[in-house]
Symmetry: C2
Subunit: 213 residues, 2 copies
């Protein structure tokens, strides 16, 4: 199941590959190889951002007091939301995961009730020790010039050492349950929409992503 080349695998001690890389919210543990398998299954390919992402989500869960019922915020749309969706009950569709796209590779898990939690991010200063990881993260190399096996090897070896974690309090607005309000039928398209959007739906207001053929 490993995506590492045979030569790369050969130089990694077997105890490293068999160690726990991440876990899900039920406590089920995954080795690095199992985690990359899970990533390919859900995300379609071995995204480096998800490999470190699964470590980030695991670290945040480990910091929370046992049995905390938590929600999640990702500060980026790239990869990281999938790490949350793979390892926790929080999804975009159930609303327990929100994406606030700040372009920062960071995830926050926080108590659904009190809002206390932990924010895990990649620390650029710590990343400097890992040239391929650094170059990938800061987009310093064109894709064709990247050494993918070395990149994965560095992420694997670096693990938690490139992460920062800090205790945070989520802003109160995130603790309020959002409601769409009353639902009506759009006079133009005839579909259901939240009446708070106006007299017609946003699609008929020009925001539709497609046109009928």
């Amino acid at each position: 199941m490993s995506t590492l080349s045979p030569s790369t695998r050969a130089i990694m001690p077997s105890h490293t590959r068999s160690r726990v890389w991440c876990r899900d919210h039920t406590g089920r543990k995954y080795t690095y190889d199992q985690a990359t398998g899970l990533i390919r299954k859900f995300h379609g390919h071995t995204a480096p951002g998800l490999i470190i992402g699964t470590k980030m989500v695991t670290l945040a869960m480990d910091c929370l007091p046992k049995d905390t019922i938590f929600d999640a915020v990702c500060e980026t749309t790239s990869c990281l939301p999938d790490a949350v969706q793979m390892l926790t009950p929080c999804t975009v569709g159930n609303g327990w995961l929100r994406i606030q796209d700040l372009g920062r590779y960071a995830v926050i898990l926080y108590s659904k009730r009190e809002g206390n939690g932990f924010r895990v991010a990649i620390d650029p200063a710590k990343l400097k020790k890992w040239p391929e990881f650094y170059a990938w993260f800061f987009k310093r190399k064109a894709k064709k010039d990247q050494d993918f096996n070395r990149l994965l090897k560095e992420i694997h070896a670096a693990g938690e050492t490139v992460l920062n974690v800090r205790a945070v309090a989520i802003k109160p607005s995130y603790l309020v349950r959002r409601s769409k309000g009353a639902i009506g039928t759009c006079v133009q398209c005839g579909e259901a929409f939240p009446l708070a959007h106006g007299s017609s739906c946003r699609g008929c207001q020009g925001q539709a992503p497609c046109e009928t053929k």
Copy 2:
């Protein structure tokens, strides 16, 4: 694995419960009971919106020419994105699923290359035949007054008959690969961020979702 009460199950003919309810992009088929099991596993609970959502995504896939490599757009944040993530390779994290929140319960699957595809939505006119489904969809009943078993039974019985499907062309902007552009280090927080956002990251510009404790 069924969420239906014994009495509800008793009045549903067994051939209905054993029929294919939905399928994933690999062609793997799920009965209604298997689909609700999958929903609970990914989404945490038996969301009615996801039951009809898995049917919607299946219908859209069935309409696409065989072997089409497709992307997805959901016109709502509620439930439906999870149906896409459960049954297709499109996720929020890999960018193949985008959410354009128009508050309409509709999903579009379209060819990644040409942009041709199909939009599936719930048709309020067709829904009127199913009082509990209609009342739930239009939020006409408080949760405590809903008959959950009847709601599921109506969704199950209604299936595709409440859906509209039409051929569409996605707008050209959705076919362009988005790039974050150059990445730099924020002078305030020291984290990586897209330089296009300004001299400091959006988090340091006041959009951070949390505060350090």
